[in-house]
């Protein structure tokens, strides 16, 4: 019975993936990719990876959707959205089929990997959720570098701005009817999202959740508030927002150095301080992830978009 459910789900995932690559029109592809993110989130739920399901639900169908649809809108106003039907490409099909077949072969041919048993190490990690323990303690290097990669991507996006737009607020100049449905929605949703996002970070220490998931939810409701005209998008040069961007990496690095100073080693948390240290890093990281993701999706300041 549960295999039938997984088969049905995977058939839908594959069908939607195929639909996002086939046919004409990138708008349809973007919509299919939004539904794809949702179905993959259900797939992660079936695999028992609840933290991943949460991240995929928030990012895959939420933020990526806004990003792709906004991009399509901009391209349409620049008259670059049209796509002609491309013919079937045999070499590409051979390449894709070959890659898929070799992965399928690897699944059956390679030995089952032996997962390191973390249960003995978990009591020293300071948190009960093994995924959070891996992210913030056992493999803190990865997470630290990743938070810096996010900043680099944001700087890359900002470099796309034209000189004349540099001092303008980020993204397009969003406006909405003050008493309209969108504005009301933009007032109701963010408080709920704020509570839920903070809850996810807090709960992530022991059960499903964490800085990435909480930060994504906060970024998403922040975007809703900005698109509804409730909240003004920041400018590149605003100090407080820049401070929020680097808060997470700075606190993370600082705690790493403190660990080295205490003799435990860089990015190694002493067992007694692990829980408060992880919660502090997570709180700072959540702020930075939320602001970085929201600004990434908003895009560079773009005054020219008004006329184009």
């Amino acid at each position: 019975m549960s295999a039938a459910l997984d088969l049905a789900l995977c058939a839908l995932i594959l069908g939607v993936g195929l639909a996002s690559m086939a046919g004409r029109g990138v708008f349809r592809a973007a919509i299919f990719f939004i539904t794809y993110g949702l179905l993959v989130a259900i797939g992660w739920a079936r695999l028992g990876a609840y933290d991943v399901a949460l991240a995929e639900a928030a990012i895959g169908s939420g933020l990526t959707g806004v990003l792709l649809l906004a991009a399509h809108g901009r391209l349409r106003r620049l008259r670059a959205a049209a796509e002609s039907l491309s013919r079937f490409n045999l070499p590409a099909a051979i390449a894709g089929g070959g890659v898929a077949l070799s992965f399928g072969w690897a699944w059956f041919a390679l030995p089952v990997p032996r997962a390191p048993d973390l249960t003995y190490a978990l009591p020293q990690a300071g948190v009960g959720n093994p995924v959070t323990a891996v992210l913030l303690n056992f493999r803190a290097w990865d997470t630290l570098v990743e938070s810096i990669v996010l900043l680099a991507a944001l700087i890359g996006v900002w470099m796309m701005a034209r000189d004349a737009d540099w001092d303008a607020p980020l993204g397009l100049r969003y406006h909405a009817r003050p008493s309209g449905v969108l504005a009301s929605f933009g007032r109701i949703l963010p408080p709920v999202g704020l509570i839920f996002g903070v809850y996810l970070v807090w709960a992530g220490a022991e059960s499903t959740g964490g800085a990435f998931q909480g930060g994504t939810v906060l970024a998403a409701v922040g975007l809703v508030a900005m698109m509804a005209g409730i909240m003004r998008p920041p400018r590149v040069a605003q100090g407080a927002w820049r401070a929020a961007l680097v808060l997470g990496p700075v606190v993370f690095l600082g705690s790493g150095l403190a660990g080295a100073a205490l003799g435990a080693g860089f990015l190694t948390l002493p067992e007694a301080l692990a829980k408060p240290a992880i919660l502090t890093i997570e709180a700072a990281l959540t702020v930075s992830i939320a602001v970085t993701l929201a600004l990434l999706v908003l895009g560079p300041p773009d005054e020219g978009g008004q006329q184009a």
Binding site: M21, V26, E56, S86, G96, W107, R114, V134
Partner: protein, 104 residues
């Protein structure tokens, strides 16, 4: 059984993404193809991590960071595509255009 279904779905998605990345020329479509490859890899990796007796949290942690990085890479790519369209009025690469200089 279920793990095999998900792993093979992941493998097929990677292949599908590779096809789209090579065969489709509109750059927004290619961004979606790139995301499809990433997501297929994550599914394959996640199914592999769930194969042992216990659910391995390390692949899960890496996949979460991977999902966030994929979003930031997509945002950067979207920025580049919009900048290209602002400059040239097209959303496909010059080397992919046909003899009349039109986007295919």
């Amino acid at each position: 059984m279920s793990l095999t279904i998900f792993a093979l779905t992941g493998a097929a998605l990677i292949g599908l993404g590779v096809y789209g990345l090579l065969a489709r020329l509109h750059l927004l479509r290619r961004i979606i193809a790139f995301n499809l490859i990433g997501s297929g890899l994550f599914l394959f990796f996640g199914a592999t991590g769930a194969r042992g007796e216990i659910l391995d949290p390390i692949p899960q942690a890496l996949i979460i960071t991977g999902i966030v990085v994929a979003l930031s890479a997509s945002a950067l790519a979207v920025g580049l595509v919009v900048a290209l369209a602002q400059g040239s009025g097209r959303a496909s690469l010059p080397e992919d255009e046909d003899a009349e200089g039109r986007a295919p």
